[in-house]
Symmetry: C2
Subunit: 192 residues, 2 copies
Amino acid sequence: MSLDHILLGMLRRPASGYDLKQEFEQGVRHFWSAELSQIYPTLTRLERQGLLKSSREPSAQGPERRVYRRTDKGRKELLQWLRGGPVMGKQRFAYVAQLAFLHEAGDLQATREFMERLREELRAYLDFLEVTEKDALAANPRPESWPEAEFHEYLCLRMGVTSIRARIVWCEECLTRIRARQRKVKKREAAK
Amino acid sequence: MSLDHILLGMLRRPASGYDLKQEFEQGVRHFWSAELSQIYPTLTRLERQGLLKSSREPSAQGPERRVYRRTDKGRKELLQWLRGGPVMGKQRFAYVAQLAFLHEAGDLQATREFMERLREELRAYLDFLEVTEKDALAANPRPESWPEAEFHEYLCLRMGVTSIRARIVWCEECLTRIRARQRKVKKREAAK
DNA sequence: ATGACCATGTAATCCGTTACATGATTCG
DNA sequence: CGAATCATGTAACGGATTACATGGTCAT
């Protein structure tokens, strides 16, 4: 399972299940996410397997927390996962499937509106990523000189920016082709 | 569930479970896939729900097949899914998570080799997509004039090409940054 | 006191994969 | 006759989501 390794990786510093969830909500979510109801049982299982150990600690605000730390065995397991090279999981894009089927949903105008809507959704997400990047660069604009961990995180953020931007370009390419096709249809109608 | 709608969409023409699996293996797989052991029960459930109906038909070669057709109710269900606008499913990229954690796996050279390997894997997939696109364009190089269904399929293929290409560009950007950082580290060592 | 947030968990269900099981047809 | 391909399914398991359940602390 991947979540095991993701959590092991995130536990570079001690954290509770709640903390880890927060992290998913913030940065890490560009590439992974999980619900608390999956995180808690996974953490207890990893502890049972000796990859983590936990201790109860008072919270600054709120009830007591259970804070997890990696064991040596846990760190080794993580390193082995990383040594295995890139894990290429299957990708599923429901909206691309929808696009493939849209030729049955009416005329080209439906497809056009679909792509316009998709572009706006992607744009909103890109805006968020770009603000994140700008904030990160504000303190020091040369990531090459940042600490190792932050440098690596920045490369991950770049993946988000690059890939969403490419998808927006794709939307625009599609819209151009759709408009060309719409003109062609109109012309044919006029010729009648 | 999305697979329900994907199958409904793929059943524009009558097909058996086996046929649908073949289709996943070929074109549709750029955005979705499923195992036979998931397809068969799903089809029987969709029939129970009145979205499909099936009939046994002799095969040109091999044993009898169970061929499914959409019912009116099935077509309506599909259209409703499409009318709901783009479905933005969660994306999970294990390899981006790995990259984020790689700063613990030794020196920068490990990250560099990871990215080189990733780039080669993406390149191989891009090659496949580009061959597919070339074949499609061979007969008629202007998709704007293709039949509706093929035009839509082509837009989907473009999504694959565009987004994989962008990821390769990202890999190269990362490698450039990594090399810059490696030079910086060397210089620091030399200064000692 | 009540609502927002901190904090941890369980239960039911669903989605998806891997493994298992069976048998017909066709080609060499 | 044996291997490849066509064809359909079931069973067991694991991964992930949704819903349920509980209770502490803090600010207004």
